[in-house]
Symmetry: C2
Subunit: 535 residues, 2 copies
Amino acid sequence: MTEADLPRTDFHPYRWGDPAHRTTLPAAATETLAAFGVRTPEQPPAELDSIELAASTVDLAALAEVVGIEHVSAEHDARLARTRGWSTPDLLRLRAGDATDAPDAVVLPGSHQEVVDLLARCEQLNYAVVPFAGGTSVVGGLAPERAGFAGVVALDLARLDAVLAVDEVSRTATLQAGLRGVEAERLLREKGLTLGHFPQSYEGASIGGYAAARSAGQSSAGYGRFDDMVMGLELATPRGTLSTGTAPKSAAGPDLRQLVLGSEGTLGVITSVTVRVRPLPAERVFEGWRFPDFATGAAALRELAQDGPLPTVLRLSDEAETSVNLADPAAMFGGGPGGCMAVTGYEGTAAEVATRRAGVTEVLTAAGGQALGTEPGEAWRTGRFRAPYLRDPLLDAGVLIETLETVTFWSNLDALRAAVTEALSSTLTAQGTPPLVLCHISHVYETGASLYFTVACAQTADPVGQWRQAKQAANAAIRAAGAAITHHHGVGTDHRATYAEEVGPLAIEALRAVKAVLDPAGILNPGVLLPRAEG
Amino acid sequence: MTEADLPRTDFHPYRWGDPAHRTTLPAAATETLAAFGVRTPEQPPAELDSIELAASTVDLAALAEVVGIEHVSAEHDARLARTRGWSTPDLLRLRAGDATDAPDAVVLPGSHQEVVDLLARCEQLNYAVVPFAGGTSVVGGLAPERAGFAGVVALDLARLDAVLAVDEVSRTATLQAGLRGVEAERLLREKGLTLGHFPQSYEGASIGGYAAARSAGQSSAGYGRFDDMVMGLELATPRGTLSTGTAPKSAAGPDLRQLVLGSEGTLGVITSVTVRVRPLPAERVFEGWRFPDFATGAAALRELAQDGPLPTVLRLSDEAETSVNLADPAAMFGGGPGGCMAVTGYEGTAAEVATRRAGVTEVLTAAGGQALGTEPGEAWRTGRFRAPYLRDPLLDAGVLIETLETVTFWSNLDALRAAVTEALSSTLTAQGTPPLVLCHISHVYETGASLYFTVACAQTADPVGQWRQAKQAANAAIRAAGAAITHHHGVGTDHRATYAEEVGPLAIEALRAVKAVLDPAGILNPGVLLPRAEG
């Protein structure tokens, strides 16, 4: 076996996304950052080859008995590529040469049954198992606690990348969990279909991750969240297979799909998902809008969410985010159009797009919005996956930049936004690094909406500790406001304590009981989502 | 304490719905029945006073310590009124004087905390507890297994009948579980709001029952299922309170609301539900349509469900149901318009109703439908809660009549309908009582639809056993077809075995583990939904 035989992630262990899309900061931004007191860190990021890994403690031959020797590896690069996810603390730790969360081995099963068999084998060997597909977690979902285990195995689903079935009458498709979102769209497009799911992590994330962490895409107003699309799931567990979903909806007991969705690899490994699909839209229109202020814009979005019509994409940036215009790096810090920018997108048949667009235009205009035409909308659409690529050069330049998100009911939205902004600002200012805090609404419901924050400030000498304080303050503010600790990033390890407070001890005990049935030895993502029973 | 102090159900223990709406069979129907070999049973239904109950084994004083002496009763009528639900076998057993499932006592808590305290007390006393609100279960959800318990207590939520909160900005309302659907609508209407939830059991069912059994209303195309409306739940358990739902949707772990919804009183007692509400519609239009056959009509409904626009109500009767016209007792057995009748209903602002109606009309016409105008639509709307009232006089006359329902994906709908029809027909014909089997689609989704069957035939000497055979055959056919055992009636005891096959042993074990956390002594609805661990 050589590492070359091993299908592996194309991504750099501590840089975002597709290497072909990497970017640099415009000169103007660099000058602005200097004026803000940002200084390039003394220590450049570690070279990958120089990052040391602990000696692997895993018996490769035992795992190879299940999947074949060509599908296991304990090589340095294979392990490093599955170390943690894409959160800023994850990147900062690897940049600093800290790969303590690296798995001891990587194993790539080729079928659902091989996953079942692997889990049984890992249980026998007392190995913790980290289900790995896109590897894009931004909440520490790939860094389980290893205490008490003889080793940690990254169970990479990359070989489970097929479309297993398409039912064109029912408009469903059964997709394997390792299929990347981009590839799923490409394969569905061949049949004239789309999932319509485009999260920020689209270039890296996978079907299994969408399901395990309850992803929400940028077109959620039109296509719904991923958990809304799921009609069925196959879950491989150390105890065997759990199949859920016999109908679109039923009254046959609790909805077990909704127990597996969001379980983040702690109850089993999702190996395939049956999802609702839709015909490829014949037409797409994206448009920009300006509102005088966030409150006016938010009220307009609420009106659309409650009384319709709903566009396919609906977003509103606050004043600060509008002025920075993250979607257009070239214009970054160059000043925006003033007020608050919104984006509306429409997908469907030409007639349907025209009808909805006319209806939305009427509502938004009456609500105080000014139509800016398709140019800013198209700029957002074409640039929408680019913003995260700015993080790497910003980190290189000495900026601490990270995002977080939450969701609440409409009547609580203003208070939540103010509380989280204040928590982030005061904590970082107290550390001598006053931040820029940007916010947008990206997902709307009849009863509420999500808030997505981007925070940027100068790095201190300990940026991981610096962010930990800010994040803890934000989490506390979210909890105090009665909102959910996450709208679409998931819980992982970063939100675990706040999540436990949010749902309460009885719920944690109930979920642990489910885990004890499906994963009696507790080998699956220990310490992710749920505090370990001992802890 | 006297029984008069006890708020109690207004309903007759073995007759459907509001006594004011009772009906008789038209003379023509009686003649037709005679021609079909239907004979009036020799034994008239038992007088209520003559139905004997076992001596109560419950310590009323101990329960009165929690709720007050005026809110407990072991009187004959109070117990009989909470004996089983509204399925045909439930009614047949009571008519035959069999009240073996009667609770030993009825207790009416006045607050969430009293429910928590009652459950703790019942656990100490080893009493099984049946949460009771509307009492409209048609799947044996109110007849738990009493083996091993010192008594059975009906925990009647009638006193928890308030609207606790209305958030007009977020469009949510917090409703107590004992609030009847009719009363909830009346209270919301005072604020210009509606739940839009109108199941067949509307005149009897309660908010708690809607949630516990995943009700679906006749306006589900427009307002969604009840489980879709639920934003939060309060669950009283023997271990304390479980509160779920901090936001419309989140990525914070499994959706615990969806674990409580459909749990049918086995995990705890739902004491209040926060639901999404909507403005009262300014306009309502109901219309009739005729399709040449069921397949053409079903294809038209699928087109609306997948590509829109969707009416608020959308139903399609098959040829047999169309010819019988259950919605209009006066015309019963009088011959229908031929083909298959569909009903479309629209609710909303005048402009929205006009737009959707025009869109639907275009689609249905192109799909082979013939518009029949508003008269048959309005006839359906005004008569829609009347059909079940026919059951009592039909049972009196010697007809066995019952309904059942299921749901599947569109591509499986024809096969499912044929298989269930065949199972019912062959089993009942083999017993010498060839049935009439009617079917309609009443709930549509992008990926599938529900099927609702009404079965009628002459009673044999043992109608309970007669129906048991037919129902078992239908359940087996549903399971063999891969469909869900219930779309909106729930599991109860009648579907328990088939449900266990549908979800598989790991799922049952996981749900039992959750129950063991929340209800360690297993006092809540033992044997409902889940087979008991011993069994």
